[in-house]
């Protein structure tokens, strides 16, 4: 169980910190160049409008209220 806990802790840690870091000398495994169709969502994803909509939804539904 100790191992399980520790591993789980690592996962939790990784998740909690995801998105927290700015820039560092991490090694990335460079993916290939995507060869598929362009997803229309790409235009929308990350836009302030969609982000604020998703943000509002997150706090409204997934919190204890």
């Amino acid at each position: 169980m100790q191992t399980g806990k520790r591993l789980f802790g690592v996962v939790v840690l990784a998740l909690s910190l995801a998105g927290c870091f700015e820039e560092a000398s991490f090694e990335f495994h460079e993916p290939g160049v995507y060869k598929g169709k362009t997803d229309p969502l790409l235009k929308k994803a990350g836009t302030p409008e969609l982000e604020s909509q998703l943000q509002a939804r997150l706090t409204r539904i997934q919190t204890d209220r």
Binding site: G4, H29, E30, R60, I61, R65
Partner: protein, 966 residues
């Protein structure tokens, strides 16, 4: 493509069941992975046979169409348990195309369990019973509704002629809405029988009887949401993580705020996995466990003496009984060491208010009523009653089992717990606008029993309970306390596999002249018998194809809107009742005050009718208009107190939890926590009910110096009637119209509601202000005591803790106790057999095993067996084993070897059906309506045994032996 250097992700492979092998290698297989191995194959077969030609409407697109009509959101309530989770159903062009989290809803805040999150499958209904069917020469034949009603009706009238109305049994349901439940009880009354009952008998009847006889009402006292306020939570005989998953949201919120969670159960459940203190007891030893805790509480002076003095009667007699339960004796009987018992008691004593939660593990015993009363007494001793965060939070089962109980789909009462007395019948006859003598004339004119030395009329005699309908068919006619055996059996929304004594049940189904199933699914009834003729299956709708009110466990009434039109040829239950009543000749009386449109009785008229009569428990203030207002304003209710803060329902508690006193015009807000004296009655406060008289042997039963806030009578008082109002000088507070109706009446029978209004105006509870009683002098065991189960492995305890004597006529039937217990079966059947629930399935599982999204997750019936017992029996994990009981029934299931049960205990889920003693009976289902997953019903093995007050079946302690299938 880039090659990578990472070292974490090697070795993945194998079947789809082994998720995250690298991360979790070495972990023992969990329940689902263990059982899912052959999943794809089973599913493949099931899916392949899904579109049986001729039986299916062309599959409708069930996803939103971009070019389709407007998508509207319908508000409903989940039908899978008593939590009452709100549902947002998205409907386009009449098709249920989406389900969104109802985050506004105060109970679930958008959350669902596996069943709730799979609700939309009800809009597909692929495995539903689609048309009325008739069994002819062993084959199912499609018939028209007209033909079915006609043929069934003719036979019923014939049976009535030859054997009397009591030879038809009307087994009802907790899965219909309040309006349908009420109508069903009234229907049985118009037919002229008390042989009407429903699943509450076999889930919480011992709770209702035990709790109501302690302090007045037999219901959950607080609410799921109120658990936020608890400092300690004790769960005994319940596994809400699987049976009421969304309730765990509230439990875990409390736990996060510091509450201690204690779980007492023979099995280490998913709920136990989240506990601070888990106690494993031997099945059937709840009374010793509770008395063992109380022993420490009394010993250490942790009891609330002021509360007991003011609000409790008879605690001294409890002290005497508790004194016998020394730590040594408790350990000898329950198997729990002193330190564990003391820790549980101390956690509850030091963390007040604490709530006490129980479910079927406590209720389904021959001494179920003793258990439930012991639980209540524990809470009284700690002063945990009538406070936020305290209470006895009894989690009811089906979505409307509370409502169906309240509305009297029971063999021993009319709606509202009025009982079956002449007065009760007169009250309801008045509400129905019918002549009492006409109603009486519907019943058998003879008498089955004596009351006060005189023959009692049949209409005042309790009927046969659900748990015993098979005996109503099988017993010798001479031994039954009614005119004749049962000759026609209606299973109107009932899973037979949820009942014990499977092989005898099969025999009963084969013997009865006429067998009728009314249900959205064929149910196990369709296949577990080997009849060849005279059986009908009538397709009813689910609650998503109709509308009306439903009562959650916390007594809140919620309104459901209709999501979709009835699928296939199914009809709503109230429409079927109308068609049947018309055929049987009492539709005019049954629907005297209820509008009927195209054979469908108007739901709102039915609500308004029961509003007019349900004064006892305050089902009078919940008009359709008020319930609909709450439904449209879910977001305005506080998620802890359930109180509307502003908005159109300002000040109301969500769902107007009963009692909601008086008429709707009185605008009573409902009662969120029963017996809470910190609030005025008009704002939802309450006292203990004066239900058992005002004194006993010279000792007052009324409260002593305790009263609800703002009460003008600052002490105990009896229940209100016209005479008391006059004596207090409050009579003239009634209007002239009220006076006309209230004269000669009491708070339960005054149809004006004036007596209730005036009592509340003066700060008083209409039902009086008394003490709760620890001694129920009219029960077999006035102070709860331990009695060994009928089938026990502990022969050494039988002499000291024997069961009851056999009875000649109990609920019209001979009932055995000691004649069973006196024989030692434990040599041949050395293991204790007990049962419980899985999160994916509900009840008998006909509905949920027909939902592929759920069925895929639990594909095999299994038994949890301790590794030591498995080794002793030579059984390996995953192997097929026989589990055989002392009455001869046996089942072939997968062995799940585990530490979740102690050595000597075998646990099985009870949701499976469709196999019988090793035989797959899938072919017997009407084509295309067989559930995806079938399995052995554990109740094929479970044995005889009935509670000494309510005739609850014993499903938690039986015996078995296991041996490998060779």
């Amino acid at each position: 493509m880039k090659l990578m250097k990472k070292s974490t992700a090697t070795g993945a492979g194998g079947d789809s069941a082994s998720l995250t092998p690298a991360l979790f290698s070495g972990a023992p297989l969990d329940r689902r992975r263990f059982l899912r191995n052959s999943g794809l194959a089973v599913g493949g077969t099931a899916i392949a046979s899904m579109s049986a030609p001729g039986m299916m409407k062309k599959a409708q697109a069930s996803v939103p169409k971009p070019d389709g009509g407007e998508i509207k959101t319908v508000r409903s309530v989940c039908t899978h348990c008593s939590v009452g989770c709100g549902v947002y159903a998205e409907v386009q062009d009449g098709v249920w195309v989406g389900q969104e989290p109802a985050f506004d809803h105060p109970f679930n805040l958008g959350s669902h369990c596996a069943k709730g999150a799979a609700l939309r499958e009800h809009g597909h209904g692929e495995r539903r019973l689609k048309y009325p069917m008739k069994l002819v020469g062993g084959k199912w034949q499609r018939v028209s509704w007209e033909q079915a009603i006609d043929e069934i009706g003719d036979q019923l009238l014939q049976i009535r002629e030859t054997s009397g109305p009591d030879s038809v049994y009307w087994l009802g349901s907790a899965k219909v809405n309040n309006e349908q439940a009420y109508l069903y009880r009234k229907f049985a009354a118009m037919w002229g029988t008390n042989n009407v009952d429903h699943q509450a008998r076999i889930c919480h009847s011992t709770t209702v009887a035990g709790v109501a006889n302690t302090w007045g009402y037999g219901a959950m006292t607080n609410s799921y949401n109120d658990i936020h306020n608890s400092k300690a939570i004790l769960i005994i005989g319940g596994n809400p993580a699987e049976a009421h998953p969304v309730s765990l949201q509230h439990v875990l919120r409390a736990k996060e705020s510091g509450a201690k969670l204690i779980v007492i159960d023979p099995r280490f459940t998913r709920t136990a996995a989240h506990s601070d203190h888990y106690v494993r007891l031997r099945p059937g030893t709840d009374v010793p466990m509770v008395w063992g805790m109380l022993w420490h509480i009394f010993e250490n002076g942790w009891d609330d003496k002021e509360f007991i003095k003011q609000r409790v009667y008879g605690m001294d007699e409890v002290r005497k009984e508790v004194a016998r339960w020394t730590p040594d004796e408790v350990e000898r009987v329950t198997g729990v060491p002193e330190a564990d018992v003391k820790k549980a008691a101390q956690l509850m004593a030091e963390n007040r208010p604490g709530t006490f939660i129980w479910c079927m593990g406590g209720t389904q015993h021959t001494i179920g009523n003793n258990n439930t009363r012991a639980y209540c007494i524990f809470q009284l001793a700690l002063g945990n009653m009538g406070v936020e965060g305290g209470g006895t939070n009894i989690f009811r089962g089906h979505d409307n089992v509370q409502g169906a109980t309240d509305l009297g789909v029971l063999a021993d009462t009319l709606p509202g717990y009025y009982g079956l007395t002449e007065g009760a019948w007169k009250h309801w006859s008045t509400v129905w606008g019918l002549d009492y003598e006409w109603v009486k004339s519907r019943f058998d004119s003879g008498s089955y029993e004596e009351s006060e030395g005189k023959p009692a009329p049949v209409m005042t005699t309790k009927g046969i309970p659900v748990s015993r309908w098979i005996d109503g068919i099988l017993e010798d006619k001479a031994d039954i306390a009614q005119k004749d055996n049962l000759h026609a059996m209606f299973l109107w929304g009932h899973a037979p596999n949820s009942q014990t004594r499977g092989p005898e049940q099969k025999k009963a189904m084969e013997k009865v002249d006429l067998l009728v199933v009314v249900d959205p699914y064929p149910t196990v009834t369709a296949v577990m018998q080997d009849r060849t003729d005279n059986m009908y299956l009538l397709p009813a709708t689910t609650q998503f194809e109709t509308y009306g009110s439903v009562t959650a466990s916390n007594r809140s009434l919620q309104w459901r809107d209709k999501v979709i039109e009835p699928l296939f040829e199914s009809k709503p239950d109230h429409t079927i009742m109308y068609l049947m009543a018309k055929k049987l000749g009492f539709a005019d009386q049954l629907f005297k005050n209820i509008q009927v449109n195209n054979d469908e009785p108007l739901i709102e008229d039915i609500t308004r009718e029961f509003n007019k009569g349900m004064w006892t428990i305050g089902y009078t203030g919940q008009s359709p208009e008020r319930m609909k207002l709450h439904q449209q304003n879910w977001h305005t209710f506080n998620t802890t107190s359930l109180k509307a803060e502003g908005g159109p329902a300002d000040g109301d508690f969500y769902g107007l939890p009963w009692p909601t006193w008086g008429t709707p015009e009185l605008k009573h807000p409902g009662t969120p926590n029963l017996y809470d004296t910190s609030k005025p009655v008009k704002d939802g406060g309450l006292t203990f009910r004066a239900r058992f008289g005002v004194e006993r042997d010279g000792v007052s039963l009324l409260a002593d110096g305790s009263y609800s806030q703002g009460s003008e009578i600052q002490d105990g008082y009896p229940e209100f009637d016209h005479a008391l109002l006059k004596k207090l000088g409050w009579w003239d507070d009634l209007t002239d119209d009220e006076k006309a109706l209230a004269e000669g009446k009491n708070w339960k029978t005054d149809l004006s509601g004036g007596i209730q209004r005036v009592a509340i105006k003066h700060g008083c509870a209409p039902f009086g202000n008394a003490k709760a009683r620890c001694v129920v002098w009219n029960f077999p065991d006035p102070v709860p005591i331990h009695r060994e189960p009928l089938y026990t492995t502990r022969r050494d305890l039988v002499e000291k803790y024997p069961t009851y004597a056999d009875r000649k006529a109990f609920w019209r039937l001979p009932t055995r106790y000691t004649s069973i217990q006196s024989k030692d079966y434990s040599k041949d059947f050395p293991l204790i057999l007990t049962s419980g629930r899985l999160v994916e399935y509900e009840g008998g599982g006909d509905e949920t095993r027909s939902n592929p999204w759920l069925a895929e997750l639990q594909q095999h019936m299994f038994a949890e067996i301790n590794q030591a017992d498995a080794n002793d029996a030579g059984v390996r994990d995953g192997q097929d084993v026989w589990v055989e009981g002392p009455e001869g029934g046996r089942i072939k299931v997968k062995a799940k070897i585990t530490l979740s049960v102690a050595r000597g205990v075998v646990w099985t889920p009870f949701h499976f059906g469709g196999y019988f003693e090793g035989e797959d009976r899938r072919a017997k289902y009407p084509e295309g309506s067989d559930p995806y997953v079938l399995g052995e019903a554990c109740n094929t093995v479970f044995t005889y045994g009935y509670d000494s007050v309510t005739a609850m079946q014993e499903t938690k302690c039986s015996l078995c032996k296991i041996y490998p299938v060779v």
